[in-house]
């Protein structure tokens, strides 16, 4: 703010003329996920408010929930985070084949998760409007499911592009990185969800 700053600043040369600015997309994705995280946080807080103020939670007459299937689903989704991480490491080593392999595997695991969830829905003994617990259950898992679906499509898109020769390399692989970050996020949300809805 001082006058002396000015002359100092004049030294900044002509160096960067019209150069492309560095890539901030990963930072942007992170910011976007902060917003997404707050969306889920808001819904979680609402759920907690319901569960903590209700005399009995879940409300009387809510059928018992099966833990086996969602448990398996959880394990699948969590392990897929490791798988997609392998893909990230592969492309950093310029290994496009590895990238394809691990992405395909992640996509498969995501698809199994979604199928599992649909199967669970169709076998539950309560519907969306049965009671407050049922409504929160469907809205939270459904909303998360949509995010898994979006992540899955994202992964498939990256996979598709990886078949274009030279599209991803050790230096340029924003799509891969973004898909990986997003997938980890979806995973993290599920962990909280699982604890809230099934374990507590």
């Amino acid at each position: 703010m001082q006058g002396s700053l000015a002359s100092e600043m004049l030294m900044v040369g002509h160096s960067q003329a019209h150069a492309e600015h560095p890539d901030h997309r990963v930072f942007g994705i992170l910011m976007f996920l902060v917003a997404e995280g707050c969306l889920f946080l808001g819904l979680f807080m609402a759920y907690l408010a319901y569960s903590l103020t209700a005399p009995i939670w879940p409300p009387e007459g809510t059928p018992e929930r099966e833990l086996l299937l969602p448990g398996i689903n959880t394990v699948i989704l969590l392990s897929s985070s490791f798988v997609i991480h392998k893909a990230g490491s592969a492309i950093k080593a310029d290994d496009v084949k590895g990238l394809r392999l691990w992405f395909a595997l992640t996509a498969l695991m995501g698809a199994i998760f979604l199928a599992g969830q649909l199967y669970e829905y169709s076998n539950l003994e309560f519907g969306l409007t049965t009671n407050l617990f049922a409504s929160t259950f469907y809205v939270l898992t459904g909303f998360h499911g949509l995010h898994v679906l979006a992540g899955l499509l994202f992964i498939l898109a990256v996979l598709w592009r990886s078949f274009k020769p030279g599209h991803y390399s050790a230096q340029h692989h924003f799509g891969v990185e973004a898909a990986e970050i997003y997938w980890h996020f979806v995973d993290g949300v599920w962990v909280v969800l699982f604890i809230l809805l099934y374990l507590l």
Binding site: M1, T53, A54, P55
Partner: protein, 322 residues
């Protein structure tokens, strides 16, 4: 700084203080007060107004002074004094508001304590919409009891009278549990501690008596409370202060503060009227809430009968919650 400017500053300070003190007491911004706790509110409000007036005068005064004193003179193309900070000043104007705020916070807490000390203001959620009358159980419920951090709470003891209040689109209904009386007007005995147990049947409403300086939302599915002691005989409006539909503005009730004798007499009359003729008069409000409200409203504003019936039509055709 010269002696003269010191004197001027001190004089201005005194003037400012006097002006603020005067306005704090003479703002005429509040209606009469008619409940035990209302004077507490008024004195807090007056002190706050005093402070606010002071801050207002300081800020606007300095602003005006700058506008006059530091206006650009003709032919002066130069810049102002290139001063860009003064740590001491900054500390002062951070600390002074902080102290004022602290004082105001504590004073508010104090008044809050005194007004709401014993009341279970938080209310609790019903399992279902139905009115419950198990207040005794929750009176001892410690989860809502406020533990004062600064000042000891005043123990207000049990209320002398409990009235159940129901808000609905566009009327108030009052049940006196001791006598089973149901009325569309709220009658209260003078100088007795009253507790209102309130709930709503459809949407949110709010129970407000400006002369008591008290307000509480009335919420479907949970019970909220107000506790107070009316200290002035008279008739006061009960205003619904929460948007509850198109006719929210005309959802008014009447509150009568009677002498204990008049209160007893009113109660007896109502019961007499209700029983022999089979719930005709007193319960009229239950079956026809809109008419009760409209009558009360008619008293207040002098509405024409045709408007009245159109009002009734509208409120009758509104769907209920769920």
């Amino acid at each position: 700084m010269s002696a003269l400017s010191n004197i001027i500053l001190v004089a201005l300070g005194i003037l400012l203080t006097l002006a603020s003190l005067w306005y704090g007491q003479n703002h005429h911004l509040l209606p009469e007060s008619a409940a035990e706790s209302a004077p507490l509110f008024d004195s807090l409000f007056n002190s706050t107004m005093t402070i606010a007036t002071g801050i207002f005068l300081v800020v606007q005064g300095v602003l005006l002074y700058c506008i006059v004193r530091y206006r650009k003179r003709r032919n002066d193309q130069g810049d102002g004094d290139p001063n860009h900070g003064n740590v001491l000043l900054e500390i002062v104007w951070t600390a002074v508001p902080a102290v004022i705020i602290l004082w105001l916070g504590l004073a508010s807490l104090d008044v809050y304590q005194a007004v709401y000390g014993g009341a279970d203001v938080g209310g609790h959620i019903h399992a279902a919409m139905a009115m419950e009358s198990s207040h005794e159980a929750e009176a001892g419920d410690p989860s809502y009891a406020y533990t004062p951090a600064v000042l000891p709470g005043k123990d207000m003891g049990q209320p002398d009278l409990v009235v159940q209040v129901q808000g609905m689109q566009y009327a108030w209904m009052f049940t006196y549990p001791d006598s089973g009386l149901v009325a569309s007007e709220l009658h209260l005995p003078l100088n007795k501690r009253v507790r209102l147990d309130m709930t709503a049947l459809d949407v949110n409403h709010a129970f407000w008596v400006p002369q008591f300086r008290l307000k509480q939302d009335v919420i479907p599915g949970r019970e909220t409370h107000l506790e107070f002691v009316p200290t002035q005989l008279g008739q006061y409006p009960i205003i619904c202060a929460e948007l509850c539909g198109p006719y929210h503005g005309v959802m008014a009730g009447q509150l009568f503060v009677d002498t204990p004798e008049a209160f007893e007499q009113w109660q007896e009359e109502q019961i007499l009227a209700a029983h022999p003729e089979g719930k005709a008069v007193a319960l009229a409000s239950e079956s026809q809430p809109s008419s009760a409200f409209a009558t009360a409203y008619q008293q207040r504003l002098g509405i024409s009968p045709s408007e009245l019936s159109s009002l009734r039509l509208h409120s009758g055709s509104l769907p209920s919650a769920g």
